[in-house]
Amino acid sequence: MTDISTRPTQQGAVEARLARRYRSEARFRAAGLGAIFIAVTILVILVGSIGHQSLPAYTVNELRLNVELSEDLVDPLGDASEDSIRAGSFTRVLQNAMREEFPDVSNRRELRELFQLFNSLNAPQLMNEVLEDPNLIGQQHAFRMPLADDLDLYLKGRLVEETSARFNTPLDITSDGRGVLLRAQDPVFTDRLSSLRITIENDITAEQAARDRLVEQQALAQDEEAEDLGVQVSFADRRISALQAQLDGDELTLRDDMPSLIVESRGGFYKLTTVSIDGLAARAEQVVPPLTDANTDRSNWVLRIVETPEARGRASDNQLIWTRALVERNIIRTTFNGYFFNNADSREPELAGVRGALFGSILTLIITVILSVPVGVSAAIYLEEFAPKNPITDMIEVNINNLAAVPSIVFGILGLSVFITLFGLPRSAPLTAGVVLSLMTLPTIIIATRAALKAVPPSIRQAAMGVGASSTQTVFHHVLPLAAPGILTGAIIGISRALGETAPLLMIGMVAFIADVPSLSLEGMTEPATVLPVQVFLWYDAAERAFQPRAAAAIMVLLFLIISFNALAIYLRHKFERRW
C-alpha cells in the first residue's frame, strides 16, 4: 500500500529531473555540433586560403618570341657542330628579339630593364633546341619562355595595386621639343590631382614639423651649433616653399614616390610626368610609340593608374608598360604552368617546379613503406600474439610507446649521427630520409596494429583453436585478416605523417638546393633530392615574391597526395570489410 501512496511524489521527482536531463543532453549535442562546425570552418579557411594563395602558380604568362638564329651568334665556328653551338651566345639572340619589339629603346639603363623581362637562364633552353635541330641555324624560330616572375605577378594583379579607366573622349597627342603633350577635352586628370595634392600637403606638414623641432633646438643651442641649425632651418624653409610652389603652380610634377599614371592610346604608351592643375592636360614620356597605321580611333584611350609607387622597389614603370604592350601584341600569352609541374627547383621562380620534390617524396615514401610496414606489423604481431609476458617484453612495450612521443627532430639527429656518420649512407638522399622516417613511423604502426589485433573478438581465436589451428594459423588465417583494415589505417596515418615531416629531414641535409629531378629508380634512391614539405619550407623562405604562390601550390600538391592516400586507405578498408 505504501507504494501507491508514494507514487505521485516519485513521479514528480522523476519529471523534475527529466527536464534537466533533456537540457543537459541538448547542451551536449549543441557542444558537439559546435565543435564540428568550428573544426570544419577552420579547415575550410585553411585550405581555402592556401588554395587562393596558390592560384597564380597554376598559370604562367609566356613570352612567344620569334627569334632570329643568325649564324654569327648561334654558330660562331660556322660548322654547326655541338662545340660551336655551345659557344654561341643565345642570351644575345633573345635580347635582339626583344630589341626588335621595342626599337626605340636605346639608352643602356633602359635596355637593361628591357632585358629583365625574361630570365637569361632561358638561354640554355634555346641552345638545347638548336642542338636538337641544327637546321634551325640561320632561321627564324618561335621560342617560348616564361615572363620574368615580377611581371608575371603584375599581369596576375598580385604585384601592384592598379586601376584603369577607359575614355571615349578625344585625346590630342602632340610632341614638342620637351616631350609629348596630352590634351583632353574634359578635366579627366582632376580625380587623381586631389590625391596627389594631398601627398604634397602631407609632405609640407611633415617638413613643417621637422622645421619646428629645429627651431626649438636652435633656441637652446649655443654659438656654432645654433648657427648650423639656422642653416638647416633655412634649407627646410626652401624645401617648404618649393613644395608650396608646386601646389600653387599651374602644373604638378609626378614624383617616383607617387602613383604612376600611364596613358594607352592607339597602341602607344605614355608615362605622365606632369599634370596641369586644371586637369585637362599632361606632359608625358613616350615609352612605346603608337601604331603607324593610324586608323585606330583616337578618342578611345585608357588611363592606367599604378597606385604602388615606383620608389617602393617594384618593377619599373617602363617594364610594366612593355609588358602591357607585349600582351596587346599577343606576344605574351597566359597558359597552363607546365614549368611548375615539369621542372625541379630553380633560383628563378618562373622556372622553379615541384616535380623534383614530388619525386623525392615518392622515393622516400617507397623506402619508408618497405621498411616500416613489414617490420612494424611483424613486431606488433609478435608482441601481441606470441611474446611471453615478462619484464623484458613489458619494457619493450613501454619504450615503443615512448618512442611514439619522441620529437621528430631527434630522429633526424639520430639519422645524421648514426646513418650518415657511422654507416656512411649518402646525405640528402631519399634512402637515408626513408630510413629515418621509417624509424619515426614504426611506433605509430606498431601501436595501431596492436590495437587492431586486440580488437579482434576472442571468440574467433577460440573458434580457430577449437578446430585445431596452431597459433600461427590462428593469427594469419583469422586474426590478421580481421585486423587488416585497422592495421591499414594505422599504417596510412603513420605514412601520411612521414610524408609531411620536415624537421628530421633538415637534419640529414634534405634542405640542399637540388635543381635536378631525381629518377624514379634504384639509382634515384641514393641521389640528392628534396621532398615536398622541405620544398615548401625553402620557397616560403625565399625573397622573391613569386615563390609564395608556388609554395602554396606545393602545399596543395602535398595535400592532394595525402588525401589520395587516405582515399586509398578508405577504399582498401571497404574492400577488405566486404570480403569478410
Partner: protein, 256 residues
C-alpha cells in the same frame, strides 16, 4: 549397451590453478564413449574450466596451470609433449556463443579439413563439407547458398554450422560449452535433437545450466560445486536419487 560402457576419457586427480587461485580440486571421472555426459553446477563451479582441460584450451591462458592425469584411449592428454593442435583435431569444441568465422559457409566447414590436410582434392573437400552439414542437420537449409557468409545465418543455424565445423575434422570427442544458452527454445530443441543423433558416433560432453536439458540429452551427469566434482552418475540416478545433499539442493533449485 556394450559400446556405451567403453571408457573414452579417464580423469585422475586433476587440479587447475589460475595463478594463486585453485579453480578445480582433485577431479576424478570416467567418461564413456558413444554417449552424452553433461556437466551441471552453479556459475563459477569449474565445469567450463574442466571442459577446457579436455582439449587443452587452458594452454591459451598464460597463468593457468593444470596438474593430474587425463587419459584418452591410453594416451595422456595433459602432457607438455603432446601437441595441442593434434589433440584438438581429435577433440572438437562448440562454444557458448555461435562463433562462425567471417567467411563463407563452405569455408567455415572446410577450414578444419584444409589445415589438417584431410582432403586432397576439391571433390573430397566438398564431400566432407556436405557430410558434415548433413550430420549437423543444416544441409537442407544452406545447400543452395554455401558462398554466403556464415555470419548471415540465424543464431541457431550458426550454432549448427559451428557443430558442422567441429564434425568436419572427424573428432572422437565433442565438447560443448553451454551450446544453447544464446538460442531460442525452438533452436535449442533442434540442437538437442542433433546432439542425440550425434551420440552414436561421438563421445559428447556438454556443459549446461539447464537441468531439463541435461536430463533430456545426457546419459551421464556430473555435478560440480565450488571447484569440486561432487557427484557423477547415470543421469536418471542423479536427478531422481542423488547421494549428496548439495546435489539434491541444486537440483531442487535451492541454490544456483
Amino acid at each position: 549397451m556394450s559400446s556405451i560402457t567403453k571408457t573414452k576419457l579417464k580423469v585422475r586427480d586433476v587440479n587447475v590453478f589460475y595463478g594463486e587461485k585453485q579453480a578445480l580440486k582433485n577431479v576424478n571421472i570416467d567418461i564413456a564413449d558413444g554417449s552424452v555426459t553433461s556437466f551441471i553446477g552453479p556459475s563459477g563451479c569449474g565445469k567450463s574450466t574442466f571442459l577446457r582441460c579436455l582439449n587443452r584450451m587452458n594452454d591459451t591462458i598464460d597463468e593457468a596451470r593444470v596438474t593430474g592425469s587425463i587419459i584418452m584411449d591410453e594416451e595422456e592428454i595433459n602432457d607438455r609433449r603432446l601437441d595441442p593442435v593434434v589433440l584438438r583435431a581429435r577433440v572438437g569444441m562448440v562454444f557458448q556463443k555461435p562463433n562462425p568465422f567471417p567467411k563463407s559457409i563452405f569455408d567455415n566447414v572446410a577450414y578444419g579439413p584444409r589445415i589438417h590436410g584431410l582432403a586432397s582434392t576439391r571433390e573430397e573437400l566438398e564431400e566432407i563439407v556436405e557430410n558434415s552439414l548433413v550430420k549437423a542437420g543444416l544441409w537442407n537449409e544452406v545447400s543452395d547458398r554455401l558462398d554466403d557468409p556464415g555470419t548471415s545465418l540465424s543464431g541457431g543455424q550458426q550454432q549448427r554450422l559451428v557443430i558442422a565445423r567441429a564434425i568436419a575434422v572427424n573428432p572422437e570427442v565433442i565438447l560443448m560449452d553451454e551450446p544453447c544458452s544464446a538460442l531460442d527454445p525452438i533452436a535449442t530443441a533442434r540442437i538437442e535433437e542433433l546432439i542425440d543423433e550425434l551420440r552414436e558416433n561421438y563421445c559428447i560432453i556438454i556443459v549446461t545450466h539447464s537441468m531439463q536439458q541435461a536430463a533430456r540429452v545426457s546419459q551421464q551427469t556430473a555435478f560440480f560445486h565450488l571447484g569440486e566434482l561432487v557427484e557423477v552418475g547415470p543421469t536418471e540416478t542423479i536427478f531422481t536419487n542423488p547421494r549428496d545433499q548439495r546435489t539434491q539442493d541444486y537440483i531442487m533449485g535451492r541454490f544456483g
